[in-house]
Assembly symmetry: D4
């Protein structure tokens, strides 16, 4: 099959989960294009004022950045075949749940990726997901199965 | 105008914000129907197994409940004219952000309601909102303006 | 809440499951309108030729009836808030699975109702459902919870 | 015309109908990309637990697999120009009827492929189809006509 | 069932087919609201210039009328549960076929009503229909069956 | 016909065109519900800060008001059967053209209402309209024809 | 601009209008892919029975062919950027008006191509068009302008 | 990432803002395809009559041109990932606001580009935008960030 699958990687930006998925995808030579929000934290905070002009008020400083980032994330998410929604150990990560809600409403299937300790708090988000992974390598295995029918080694 | 506005009240279930909005709406005699998820915490957790049968595994216990609740919330949210998305001081409240994402993708305008301390963490959710309120009474004022053009007293 | 919920009852026409749901809904005085395909078997087979003219060929005899029935079922399903998809012990019941597929694509949440012996064969249909019931009374309990937050007695 | 037609082959996995269509498409050099669910029966049953972790309960074992498979089938079906829905002599094959329902609701035209003995039971599914074939070679002929206007040799 | 079915009556304006459907619907006391384009021929031709100002050029005279009529027909067709598309013995009646095309694309089921002499020329329009009637009374019978499951007398 | 037509009146707020339409609709007893944005100029400017809190920066002062107003206008426009888009003699009135663009994309037919001097500048907006009126009374006449088929007196 | 425009050529199959458009498009080297229904009259009539099996009844003979053709035409029309709808001097050509109705409902802009003698009968179809041409060369000129901004020579 | 972003440049045609964006995009080697309406003023006015035949009445002269132009702009706008909506110092520029309204309703994110003097008059259009730029170079910077995460130099 000649299709390239676009996979959107949403959520946590403080661990190496995106790199681990990328490594796995390359190792298996999967026809996958990984896309993601901008993951440089300070840039994603300050991009709006850096480009469109400074704001004295932190609220509008954040607003300008969030709306600029949304032009990237909305286009990439809406064009994805599958989304991965990652919740790390810490932080609120409401934007990840926000992306999951959009994916659900747009009919884009998604896999959540989070430790078991979040299971109860994420039950609504998981209930609309097509899979719940604990490790990035499981996401790679899932993609290999979805795209080529490969069962995991091990 | 004869239209009744359906307003969906999503999020936190540990404070009296829904009651305060209901009180305000009644005091002003606004043509508003307030709808909401089931807010009895233990019932929303246990409804699935109570109705469809018990599960040994907590994960599937939660899943059954979350999917049952989703039949209510999805229908009510999709049928709403406006949504209010509330984030309280505590808890993860990922389901509120998930509802906001669905509202955004469905084109349903929403107002967020949260303390300023959450502003930075909620900047993506706020950036897609049509208003950010701090107190339930501001939501009532907003509804009075949206529906009747009434400006707030004082 | 003043909303009346429209519930579409799809599938098997050889047992009294629709009557049991209707009885339960009335007993609880739920604001539910139950809708369904025509359940008189011979009429649903012969309606097409009885109205639009006879056919020598059984295939087209069936086609005329199926397309006439579809005008009813399509309108009722598309207008429903929730669908119940019933698979009985016997028969192919492909039209029930067909309705489930339409509901899934239209974003209408549904509950399947079938004995455990069908679990494996129905796993794809169940996987897109928001609940799996074994008895009609569980469907009534689910509706009572979805609409009013009532937990089952007993 | 430079377009490549994507054709989704849904349903029965116990006979060689997909291979016969593939052979015919290649023989005619049709610009067709054939896509399909994973057809290795045991893998499609066990993929979920193999990748996301084992389940004691067969019901959830099946659920995990079905939801994983759905990420493949939903993407491929939604992206197809035409679907072929195959019902073999045996088995329930409810997933095939489920796919047909989705195709109908998504506006994707489909051809059913089944023996005459199923005609009455499949009348609703056939009534929404754009063609009913008995042999895989008829599907190939139909594709040759649809794409290039070629009439069958015979 | 409490639903009122809206039925749009498109096409020929030179015979009494709408009246015959209306008579039949009343005789059976069906919960049907019949809607239709303006059927006074000269008014539907001249309404545009009568209201928005005269045109020297017949082409734009017609354009103004057609666009004004379209505000009525588009709203009524889009809001209908079922459409009836009538082709009489004479005239081009392209607007009827145009309405059928819109109904098909909008997913509104329709019944065509025309004499057998038009069968070949209307084969594409009939192929997307859910029924082909020859007499208005068959349409009434079809509505009685669709709505209440009543089989035709006689 | 029992339908009540919802008509959205967008645009200029400095003349009495809405009152003239309302007068005409009442005089003819048309089943029309007229809806509109808030037309008290200073309120529509200041509502955002009055309800959600003051802003030092005029840009964000305006933003808060515009987003609050949009919750009203978006809901009313999206629910309308027909929109009237009014451009007066003066002012930029970009919000009227913005509403027209939304109506066009949503498939809501609209009539523009403006003096001939704006014809060239409004040619793109007019080209997507279903009628161009010069006086509010023509809008009333159009509604009377659309709804009841009444031709204008005189 | 690198985009290739897909243009669907619907309607009359008895004159050389498609060839004239193709000639013009090639002469100007426009980045256009022309697509069309099968234009061999007898094949488009008989394809259904030739592939799926003979029918004694002419009505179902036609039905099978029309539904097979619809798989081609629906896919090509829905994927087109622009449609050209041609009505020749003779014949009913209801399928052309049917295609126009679908294009209108799908939001695909179209140009009609017909002699002035049909103007009145086609006023509804023309009123939803973005242009009315009399000669195929005008369609070529329109495409050259739409795609490259070229004004016609002469 | 291999995606090419399509950016639609709507609005003012009297200054060099499009060229400045094009220069910036090339300088940074961004994977962007810029698309735009025809910007030769007299051609965009006269194209309709030049191709489809002259009109004595200026109103219909304009109509023919506007509808022809709309075939280009509608296709390009609907296919864009991002739109830039430019309002210059002078002119009504209602077509720019009309395009913004369409973009908003279609869910295509857009950036407005206009001097501060228009801020109040454009508050509704800006309130639905994802960014407000003053200079074309800011648009280039925004695209560089959206596509590659590049922060502006200096």
């Amino acid at each position: 099959m000649s299709m390239v699958w676009t996979v959107y990687l949403s959520g946590e930006i403080h661990s190496d989960w995106r790199e681990r998925i990328e490594t796995g995808v390359k190792a298996l030579d999967l026809p996958v294009e990984l896309v993601a929000p901008i993951t440089v934290h300070e840039d994603s905070d300050d991009c709006g004022v850096a480009i469109f002009g400074r704001e004295d008020n932190k609220f509008w400083h954040d607003r300008k950045g969030a709306q600029l980032n949304a032009m990237r994330t909305k286009s990439l998410l809406a064009g994805a075949d599958i989304a991965i929604i990652r919740f790390g150990e810490k932080y609120k990560q409401w934007n990840a749940a926000f992306d999951a809600g959009q994916a659900a409403a747009l009919g884009i299937p998604y896999i959540t990726l989070h430790p078991t300790e979040h299971d109860h708090a994420l039950k609504e988000v998981d209930a609309a997901a097509n899979g719940v992974a604990r490790e990035p390598e499981q996401v790679v295995d899932a993609l290999a199965y979805i795209i080529r029918g490969d069962m995991p080694k091990s």
